[in-house]
């Protein structure tokens, strides 16, 4: 199964409520058939700009990161479900960045300057 990452921004709430909201989202994910691998808390931060979601405006938010395995078909349903949740300010699912291979970068290949000297004139 391909790995996905969910960058979740929750409303700034009391600890108990955030815990409840997280639990809810995690259970929803598992119901859709996602296998959760790891949950990280990136802390509470001031949002970069004022956001309005579900007829409410937010300035601060709590950032969470969930990486999970999910079948490709359920991703859209997960997104819909999360957008309906009022505690969630903004959900974003992306492919897990660590699964992409790091291609070996050999270095800056020196461009022969002679080619640049006799480059054909660009025609507008």
């Amino acid at each position: 199964m391909p790995r996905y990452e969910l960058a979740l921004i929750l409303k700034a709430m009391q600890r108990r409520e955030t815990a409840a909201a997280l639990k809810r989202t995690v259970e929803a994910l598992m119901d859709k058939g996602a296998i959760i691998r790891n949950l990280e808390n990136l802390g509470e931060r001031a949002l970069p700009y004022k956001m309005s979601a579900h007829s409410q405006q937010h300035w601060r938010g709590r950032y969470f990161l969930v990486d999970f395995y999910a079948p490709t078909t359920t991703v859209q349903s997960i997104m819909e479900h999360l957008s309906r949740d009022i505690d969630v300010i903004r959900p974003n699912i992306v492919k897990h960045p660590l699964t992409q291979e790091v291609k070996e970068c050999e270095g800056i290949i020196p461009v022969p300057l002679e080619e640049k000297l006799y480059a054909p004139k660009k025609r507008k």
Binding site: I9, L47, L65, N92, V102, K103, G107, I108, I109
Partner: protein, 121 residues
């Protein structure tokens, strides 16, 4: 024989073999020229075995210059790293002539910046 010697002097040492092989046609045919030809061919082979350069990779090749992010994974989550590549005043992504990254890394960084901007990180 005299003609051969003259030819040798004229052409110089490097072209010895060529001179002799060329000059073989001119003087009297027969056994002598045949002998000369054989010795010439042997002489040529010896030089080609020992003195000609052997084909190999340049041993003094230096490793190519690497950019600062070469080989390191770029993530959209480390906002601090990505914020170094944008202008503090306008928020524009710096071009390649300013950042000095390789083509691939520059593209990766710009994509990660766009992603982080959309995801409000």
């Amino acid at each position: 024989m005299a003609a051969l010697v003259a030819v040798y002097r004229v052409l110089g040492r490097k072209k010895l073999t060529h001179g002799i092989t060329a000059a073989v046609c001119l003087p009297d045919p027969g056994t002598r020229t045949v002998l000369w030809r054989r010795s010439c061919s042997q002489y040529k082979q010896v030089t080609s075995n020992e003195n000609l350069p052997v084909a190999m990779e340049n041993p003094y090749k230096e490793p190519l210059k690497k950019c600062i992010l070469c080989g390191k994974h770029v993530d959209y989550k480390n906002v601090q790293l990505l914020s170094q590549f944008i202008s503090p005043y306008t928020g524009c992504i710096h071009g390649r002539h300013i950042t000095g990254l390789c083509g691939k890394k520059q593209k990766e960084v710009s994509k990660a910046i766009k992603r982080a901007q959309i995801m409000e990180l």
